[in-house]
């Protein structure tokens, strides 16, 4: 089995702003192995989120290609991309993006509903996922009845619902105070270890990035350097 989960070759994404073309990402070559935690850091406008969205199949490259677990995002059909997002990717957003009219349980259930998991089964799994993120008591609450940290926990449970290979998090602690943010990060790291997932996280926070196995520094749409943290600097 191929040990590389993500393989990007000359990945480029242009945006058209008025008459000028802005390169959000240009000619990025990247390999990410299965498992582990990769942080994407860099100033705003450096292309972190663009790279994340391309990997997640929410966006398509202007040029070049990125393939994830054998699926070429640029070449895939709409249906293939939807299926890829449904079955292999879990998104965690800065602004949580829970469906406001659904309860916590229903929010966690919704990806499984899209994946046509039978009602009884998905209800049981959603409840156990909420329990694993410490929200066993909050299943019937609507998002507006939950605190920021609780919302992000629901979002994490939802991202894990269809047992993805890859978790993509775009500043998941950005809207949380530092204490809550630390707790959410702790939860993510635990889940990562327990389930052998691959996590790619966009962050501004160097402390959070320091928890990652690799840190990819982006600047002006290009990779400046890739820093290996724990693998080389083994703790004493």
């Amino acid at each position: 089995m191929n040990n590389f989960l993500i393989h990007a070759i000359k990945l480029t994404r242009h945006y058209r702003v008025g008459k000028t073309e802005v390169a959000a990402l240009s000619d990025v070559d990247l390999i990410v192995r299965r498992g582990g935690f990769t942080a994407l850091v860099g100033p705003s406008g450096s292309g972190k989120s663009t790279l994340l969205n391309l990997i997640g199949g929410l966006d398509r490259p202007s040029r070049g290609e990125v393939s994830v677990d054998g699926l070429s995002v640029g070449a895939a059909t709409e249906q293939q991309l939807a299926r890829y997002r449904r079955e292999r990717v879990g998104f965690i957003f800065q602004s949580f993006n829970l469906i406001p009219t659904f309860s916590a349980l229903e929010n966690v259930e919704s990806p499984m509903m899209l994946a046509e998991v039978p009602k009884r089964e998905r209800r049981v799994r959603a409840a156990s996922l909420l329990e694993s993120v410490g929200l066993a008591q909050r299943t019937q609450h609507k998002p507006n009845e939950l605190s920021g940290g609780e919302k992000q926990r629901v979002a994490i449970a939802r991202a894990l619902a269809n047992r993805p290979l890859l978790l993509l998090a775009d500043e998941p602690t950005g809207n949380l105070d530092s204490k809550t943010g630390a707790a959410v990060l702790e939860l993510l790291c635990q889940l990562l270890k327990a389930q052998g997932l691959t996590l790619i996280m966009v962050t501004h926070d160097p402390e959070i990035a320091a928890r990652a196995d690799h840190i990819i520094h982006l600047r002006d749409g290009a990779i400046q350097k890739i820093e290996a943290t724990r693998k080389t600097e083994a703790p004493p």
């Binding site: 969205n53 997640g56 929410l58 966006d59 709409e78 249906q79 939807a82 299926r83 890829y84 997002r85 449904r86 079955e87 990717v89 998104f91 957003f93 993006n97 829970l98 469906i99 406001p100 009219t101 919704s110 990806p111 509903m113 899209l114 994946a115 046509e116 009602k119 939802r158 269809n162």
Partner: protein, 423 residues
């Protein structure tokens, strides 16, 4: 996403915004209401027409001899001896043949007395003029079939008589207890203008409720009377029957029979043509009013489309979230189409219920008015058939789907990233 989940999601989304969904479906309610009332009225009127005609019998044909017998000069009923002008008479043999034909249930030959005959009823020594009544098989379209006051209205082959209430009154007989008159012997007297008379002794079989003075006797007795009147012995052989009422096993058979008998040279009258024309008129009116309802429904699509555009605008972010979680464009489109379809269907159900209730109310009120105006009509005027109910709900749902087509297509085409950025 399974269809069941899609239906459930769409339904709960509609239910979440009850007032807005209700307002959006108002146009559908009005359109459906119009269609239900108009079509149920048409169905009711059609039933009325068919029932009225059926009471006479669509399975019935009246066969007459052909030729220039009626009209022209001469006494009503025609000259008895100008056989040459009769191209085709109905003979006893014809009647026998028809009786043996498959699909023919009843054959009733008729002989009419000439209109110039003076007929009197002799009772207790007094003579009162009466009319020879027609047979009982052609009652008035808008009346109930005749009921006997006493005895039976069916005549034996010969020697029996049915008297009307009017005839009894004219003869000065007490009508308090008509049953006691059954079996009594009376005389029907024929009187020529020169004063010659011939009386026929008959036994009372029954009393009819008719208020005009009339009597009814069997065909054989009428032939005897006619023979005397024309001083002949073989009037039937020469002139044939005046008419024959045929009853077929069903309407199709009746139609086939009428074609065959016309080809044989007889005149055939049936009611089928009247019914066809009446139903055609009703259909035309129904189509017109249904079109009005249909236009109301088309206008209703604007309301639903507007609601869907608003809903999609408000839920742009939700669409983005669903897409990020792996919902395909097709699923998003179906979800919103279903919502629009539900709004239409709810409007259809409401319109059907209201229209049905209005019809039920009018069904109660109209007979009161008709009774007040003394118009004879029975039965319901508004009839909601199951096919109308099902059809109208399906059509309303279709109208909803139609209205949802464009907004849902727009929602499906949203770029997930842009939708997620939407506030």
């Amino acid at each position: 996403m399974t269809l069941k989940d899609q239906v459930h999601t769409a339904f709960s989304n509609v239910g979440r915004r009850k007032l807005r969904s209700a307002l959006a479906s108002l146009g559908v309610v009005v359109g459906t209401l119009t269609i239900v009332i108009m079509v149920s009225l048409a169905a009711g009127v059609r039933q009325q027409i068919n029932r009225q005609f059926a009471s006479i019998g669509l399975d019935r044909l009246t066969v007459s001899p052909s030729g220039g017998r009626r009209g022209g000069f001469g006494p009503p009923g025609g000259f008895p001896f100008n056989n040459l002008s009769l191209k085709k008479i109905i003979t006893g043999q014809d009647v026998k043949t028809w009786k043996g034909m498959p699909g023919v249930t009843t054959v009733i030959p008729e002989v009419n007395l000439p209109g110039s005959v003076n007929l009197e009823l002799k009772w207790n020594g007094t003579n009162q003029p009466v009319r020879m009544g027609g047979d009982n098989f052609r009652p008035d379209i808008f009346q109930e079939p005749p009921e006997p006051l006493a005895g039976s209205l069916e005549l034996p082959d010969a020697g029996g008589i049915v008297l009307s209430l009017g005839a009894l009154r004219a003869a000065g007989v007490s009508t308090n207890d008509p049953a006691r008159l059954i079996g009594q012997s009376v005389e029907a007297v024929l009187r020529t203008s020169r004063g010659e008379t011939q009386s026929f002794s008959l036994s009372v079989r029954g009393i009819s409720a008719d208020r005009s003075p009339q009597i009814q006797v069997s065909v054989a007795d009428r032939i005897a009377m006619k023979n005397w009147w024309f001083n002949a012995t073989n009037i039937l052989e020469r002139e044939g029957y005046d008419s024959v009422t045929l009853r077929a096993a069903d309407v199709t058979r009746a139609n086939a029979l009428s074609v065959q008998l016309r080809r044989d040279g007889f005149q055939v009258q049936s009611l089928e043509m009247f019914v066809t024309v009446a139903n055609r008129v009703v259909t035309a009116i129904t189509v017109m009013f249904t079109l009005v309802g249909g236009i109301a429904l088309l206008v209703a699509t604007i309301g639903i489309a507007n609601t869907m555009v608003m809903a999609i605008y408000e839920r742009t972010r939700e669409i983005g979230i669903l897409k990020a979680m792996g919902a395909s464009s097709r699923e998003i489109r179906q979800m919103f189409m279903l919502e629009a379809g539900f709004i239409g269907m709810i409007g259809g159900v409401a319109g059907l219920l209201i229209g049905w209730l209005i019809g039920l109310g009018l069904n109660q009120v109209i007979p009161l008015y008709l009774r007040y105006r003394e118009l004879p009509a029975r039965g319901d005027f508004f009839v909601v058939t199951p096919s109308l109910a099902a059809g109208v709900i399906l059509f309303a749902a279709f109208i909803g789907l139609l209205a949802g087509l464009l907004p849902a297509h727009r929602a499906a085409k949203f770029d997930p990233l842009e939708a997620l950025r939407h506030e």
